[in-house]
Symmetry: D2
């Protein structure tokens, strides 16, 4: 049986917190650099409504790359998987079985998968709506529904900062535009994308979203099928194969939980059929993942045999 | 409840067999080219000893790349995971979160993972023993134990043919040797590797090996823990992320079963905690996977909800 | 002795013109697509003021990539070679002597050389001035001086068309900006760059510019050293190693004249110490060079032993 | 007028020798590591038979990569340029004019040019003859004729050492074999290639070979056209564009003499129509070129205006 009490979880959090000293907070924009590196909080959300948590669970953080999974789910519902995967690949790796190297698909006109920036930009580009505002409003409503929290909003300051420093993403967009993967205004897309990345919530919200993915799109607390089953499955699959940047393989091997991290320090976990996990710990390892958050998940996975493999 | 009778399975095999016409058998060595493209057989092996099967289940085929998972398990037992992953990576993809392309690790001195040829060669190189013969004998015994079939052997003709046409693998070996990932005789390594690829069995044997992986290394029929749990998990993880060449992502998404394929037409599946699957269908799609075998697995996965995601 | 009469040259032009049928005009913007594919004109400009020519020498065309050599000369004069080559490389190829492939420098933060688009953008970015208009005016004056023709201007329509379709160049700019090779407005740079590419002249003008490069920066007709000797040498060097896109090696081998081509069909040649050549022939081969222009140069080089090698 | 007396040259050599301290000798095989890093010698060979020299001109060194130009000339004579360039490219760089990076041709089945190892191996593979011994004997005779010195031989020790450490070249060969650019025994080819690289001479010999290239294949001292003119031109072209490893562009710009270097410290120069240069200075810069040798050539080029650009 899995972790039942806040007390049990608090002990693990305190143990994991010591790892925060070996990482550092993201600082490519000033707002992220102000995070407190020793912060660490976790919430576990069960289908029956129980919620076990530890740490300062009210602290808010921006989703950053965690939003890639959510926008993917949203766009799969908006467009269907055939249309989506016509424009973005589904492979963690592009190696044909006998290649001496990954030559063929290196800067592919078709991004390898929706978890790399190029792929996520193509996905966000497909969000339907009449304007940036309208499209973002639709996505935000979806996020509020997933988290069952209508107060969720985004950080204008962080969105603005990221908009101003998004040159690499602009490069990707213009490259994709040249290859007819994007049309319309690049600035509009970057505006929408940086807002999406700047959506703010706490680990309780994130655990609830994780629960919905864990339950194949069904929210057992509101009794609603928010995401179709196959869409939720597709998302969990990408969480396993490329959810933790280029530590995804090691994470899958050691921990074995579908998860997605963001550079603000969030990790969303979705243990199939069992529960959702929300973690916030802004001190990052060199791969860009919450260093204490991963430690905490490894302790939980070992203690309670959570690996899906 | 999953597929219970041969009859049920036979109907699905007949339906899937029609897809064999859209693929073609491997022909880079003459022996493989002689396979009958319309062949299709499957066996499902349950923990309680039951075995449901369809097609000409006695037909033998060589493991080819399926052997990569088995040699990985063997070497992880011989050497421990720290030593193994010092020499081969564990990532399906090498993308750092903000790279515009996969530049840094293209022909890495450290192969990305054990499922690409470079990684598999490094793994096989680590099989302990005093000679090629000795090392192969040890591996073969392990395979016989996994399949619970002491009659399993290898095709000398196919091993020899592959040895003679292994120039690309030789290139990889010398490159790895230059970077101190390999030492000793390249020809010895190619000899060992081509024998490993040429191990022959039928789909009943393969399903039994799949069952052992599915049960985390435990053979419920002999009551033996053949592979340690964590080793079996590592192997299933690689099966999910890179077991089906560069169709692994699509396979995981549509089918969701840890699986490994080989160019002779075999597919080994390992549904965690439930059963093992062995398939033989030599007509391949353009990615190198059994075209009807994948079709069959998709039908089974949809019908019986087998996806682990 | 080299070609002395228009008549001699006209015969060669007629012979070369037949090759125009094997190429096609650039059509990535409509204006270029309207060129007459059978056009072919040439002018040869000698230090003593003589000028031999053939074809419709009054036909104007835009410089396109030919402008890369001219802006390089201009910026080398504005900034000095140390500053320029701090931001752009001087190598035709990035291969270290023992590399198995060109891995290390593939999308380098520092563009390989000033003849590839990334490098040319970095060069144009270094043109001094207070505004796009001011910087372009300075460059245009320089071009007028080089051609000894104060009437030279640019095609607003072509500049505008290229500005609108410059997504790949925008991608390069944002990528370079991310790596601190560029600052300021990307749109301003693209505006300046597309104007530079849209400067229009005829083959008489171009031959005169070629003559100045051939005479190491000295204009024997006005008795002015327009470009310092070492700057002219640097430019001719890049013309030899990378002036003809990725046919530069073959061109150097067969023809052996420093030359630079543009996709509007122009070729500027600079035979060291002897004469300048201007060619216009808009039918391009698959490498982007004037197909009949190259043919014509090959005939001239063979007939009059023009190779510098 | 160019350098006329040994005394004049000796002063320059002494000045350049001080640069040897900033480099180091090649040490990937023990024999090369034993070279005296402060050695520096030069010989200039004029068409009229005069020879100006300085330093210990009797010191012998192995050709290493300098042999690539010579074997190229030999094979162009054996096979003709069409056959040769069917199997090896002629481009210093593989960039199509609009590529964002050199993606397409990275490990091309067709090596980019004959100066990179892959290309040189393909060239040496084309040397005609019935056996390794026979083919090497033919090449050696050619080298003796070029140097007008029948005593030239090769270092068995160095050839053997290089044979034993040639894993990277073996990797290239097997890769090329897989792509049908090579056939036959890889070991035989490596044997022939390492012998070719181990041919030994002093700077007087090397200057004479340089003279033959400078005079377009004609030896003015023996009155023989040893190499056809167009073959000599092709070779000088490659010396300009890729003769000095990945410092070729900088070398061409600063010095402007067709030249080829080797990691034993040799540099062969061929000033078109004027003279040949042989240099030996085993202390190398980080690109693999003789550090003092380059310094010496730069002083000579500036003092006597030797640049061909």
């Amino acid at each position: 049986m899995f972790c039942q009490t806040n007390k049990e979880l608090e002990a693990l959090v305190e143990e994991a917190r010591s790892y925060t000293q070996y990482g550092k907070v993201a600082d490519y924009i000033p707002a992220l650099g102000k995070a407190n590196p020793t912060d660490l909080s976790i919430s576990i959300n069960y289908p029956d409504g129980r919620c076990v948590s530890a740490g300062d669970v009210q602290k808010k953080f921006t989703l950053q790359s965690i939003s890639k999974v959510i926008s993917l789910a949203f766009v799969l519902m908006d467009r269907g998987s055939s249309e989506v995967f016509e424009h973005v690949g589904m492979e963690p790796t592009g190696d044909p079985f006998n290649s001496i190297a990954k030559l063929e698909k290196m800067i592919p006109a078709k991004p390898l998968n929706p978890m790399i920036n190029a792929g996520a930009l193509v996905v966000t580009h497909m969000i339907k709506g009449n304007s940036v505002e309208d499209r973002f409003k639709r996505l935000l409503s979806f996020i509020q529904e997933l988290a069952n929290d209508a107060t969720i909003s985004y950080s204008e300051g962080i969105a603005q900062s990221e908009f101003e420093t998004a040159d690499l993403n602009r490069a990707l967009c213009y490259f994709l535009k040249q290859h007819n993967r994007l049309d319309g205004s690049v600035d509009d897309l970057i505006k929408l994308y940086t807002k999406q990345c700047a959506v703010e919530m706490n680990c309780l919200d994130l655990a609830h979203i994780g629960l919905v993915f864990a339950m194949n799109g069904f929210d057992p607390q509101t009794n609603k099928q928010i995401i179709p089953q196959n869409v939720a499955r597709i998302c969990k699959n990408f969480m396993v194969t490329c959810g933790m940047y280029n530590a995804s393989g090691e994470f899958a091997m050691k921990i074995g939980i579908p998860a997605k991290s963001g550079v603000a320090g969030g990790i969303m976990g979705a243990t199939p059929g069992r529960f959702g996990i929300g973690i916030f710990g802004p001190s990052l390892d060199e791969k860009g993942n919450s260093i204490a958050g991963i430690q905490l998940l490894e302790m939980l996975s070992k203690k309670y045999s959570l690996s899906m493999f």
